[in-house]
Symmetry: C2
Subunit: 292 residues, 2 copies
């Protein structure tokens, strides 16, 4: 497991099932289902199968935003997918997302159910379906899309790169940590310069670009990802901090972050969500606090 100097890769890579650290059971070199199990289906138009990771909460924030605007047709059931238990490899889950990643969603309001996977695809699908959180003016809409795609292509360097090597890998390796720390700081600076001149990512309107970027980069500057605030000097990105605090003030953002949350403070966990009343009084008292 240690990084011996002079390592030479084999001619053909083979799967060593003992490697992989704490993610050995999650990461596999093969796709497809590992077991037969259908997904539950509730009463609402949208069925979400997810977990409150940064990618997961994009979908729940969006659905809560739509409901807060009065779009009753955006009612949803959110089912917990425990990725540490391999729920994403069930036959039912693979049918709606062959990539076995959360979040995945099914729209039962269409003539036949429509599967939607990839968090960015879910955000755009809902924005177009409800005509919400996507500017209609051409330049602003294009800008929202530019930044939505920016998030999709950039966050893997934060999550799959920096976060993995800084927080999760079985040992600390200097080169990968350095490589990904540099890139994440560059990304934060890109956002910081943009948010110095813009209230939100697409300009003066809150949009799906903010919903996509906040759970990763907003959480990072608020110190709730990877305990890396000091290491990355996140306080220097003052405009990102300003924007993150502004986004976090939205009740839908606070509710969205609780859904399918199965760790941390019990009062901030809502393992499944099937009704607006599921955010009960006890948890409502707590959601004014910053996320962990």
């Amino acid at each position: 497991m240690s990084e011996s100097e002079g390592y030479t890769p084999p001619r053909v890579w083979t799967w060593d099932q003992e490697s992989g650290g704490r993610f050995a059971k999650i990461n596999r070199p093969i796709a497809g289902p590992t077991h037969d199990k259908e997904l539950p289906v509730g009463k609402h138009p949208f069925q979400l199968y997810s977990l409150a990771t940064p990618n997961g909460v994009k979908a729940t924030i969006m659905l809560e935003e739509l409901l807060a605007m009065g779009h009753k047709e955006a009612e949803y059931d959110a089912w917990l997918i425990d990725i540490s238990e391999g729920n994403q490899f069930s036959s039912g889950f693979v049918k709606i997302n062959p990539n076995s990643k959360i979040p995945a969603m099914v729209d039962h309001s269409t003539d036949t159910p429509t599967r939607v996977f990839e968090s960015g695809s879910i955000l755009l699908y809902l924005a177009e379906k409800f005509g919400a959180l996507l500017p209609t003016e051409h330049h602003k809409r294009t800008e929202a899309m530019n930044w939505l795609f920016w998030q999709m292509g950039s966050a893997p360097f934060l999550g799959g790169g920096f976060g993995h090597f800084y927080a999760y890998a079985p040992e600390k390796m200097e080169y990968p940590i350095n490589r990904f720390a540099m890139e994440v700081k560059r990304q934060l600076d890109v956002l910081n310069r943009h948010l110095a001149d813009n209230e939100y990512m697409a300009g003066d309107e809150y949009s799906i670009a903010d919903v996509a970027i906040y759970p990763w980069y907003g959480a990072l500057v608020k110190g709730v990802l990877y305990e890396a605030a000091e290491f990355l000097s996140v306080h220097e990105y003052t405009h990102v901090v300003r924007w993150a605090e502004q986004v976090l003030e939205r009740p839908a953002v606070r509710r969205g972050q609780m859904v399918n949350r199965a760790w941390g403070e019990p009062a901030r966990q809502l393992h499944e969500r099937h009704d607006a009343d599921d955010f009960n009084t006890q948890t409502q008292d707590k959601i004014g606090e910053s996320p962990e």
Copy 2:
């Protein structure tokens, strides 16, 4: 530079400008321009600033496909951005893509010019503008979007992860190579299972999902990325190989791969493209061959 065992990250990350290997001049922890220089602007509606990397050729393949369909309004000038020379950090480039990555495009056919950046955003922008390569039927369109976003979130593990550590990093490190090889093989298996049952990514129609995925995963199984074909046993992904060969038969794909290409065989390079005639007789003779 070597991976000493027991490495402990410092409390605060700082920039060591000597590190970074062959990408030391490309990778920076800060955004924004490094020098003042405006971008050239040609006569056509679309101005593309790019390089023939996998992300770059997505845009040129798309524009060539549109022209092949007869959309004369898709005419474009393609200008070379030499990233090894830092062209992406010019004031002009940063104005149209604050993220300093190719490809970036400006649409001059709108009332005021519209900047479009991120390859996925460019593909969707052009598909919507011309009503092309995006299915109109709801389920198929959603599926094309799912896979378009899948590519954006997955390829960083191939390019920024596997490719970097396997081919470019200053020394070979076992853990990162292993981690990213496993993920790339999983992604190839996701595609392989999907393409076993589908002619193209979104079903029976060639779409922007194929245009997005081919330059990365098609090139990988054809052995032209990172010299990793044997290491990753790409021949096992027979359905991906079948699909890649089918996509490569398209003349627009072959032309698109030549534009802004500044390395390899001279006859397959077209540093800038300002007119359909720029693909001259000499290069036409060559584009029937597989890409390097």
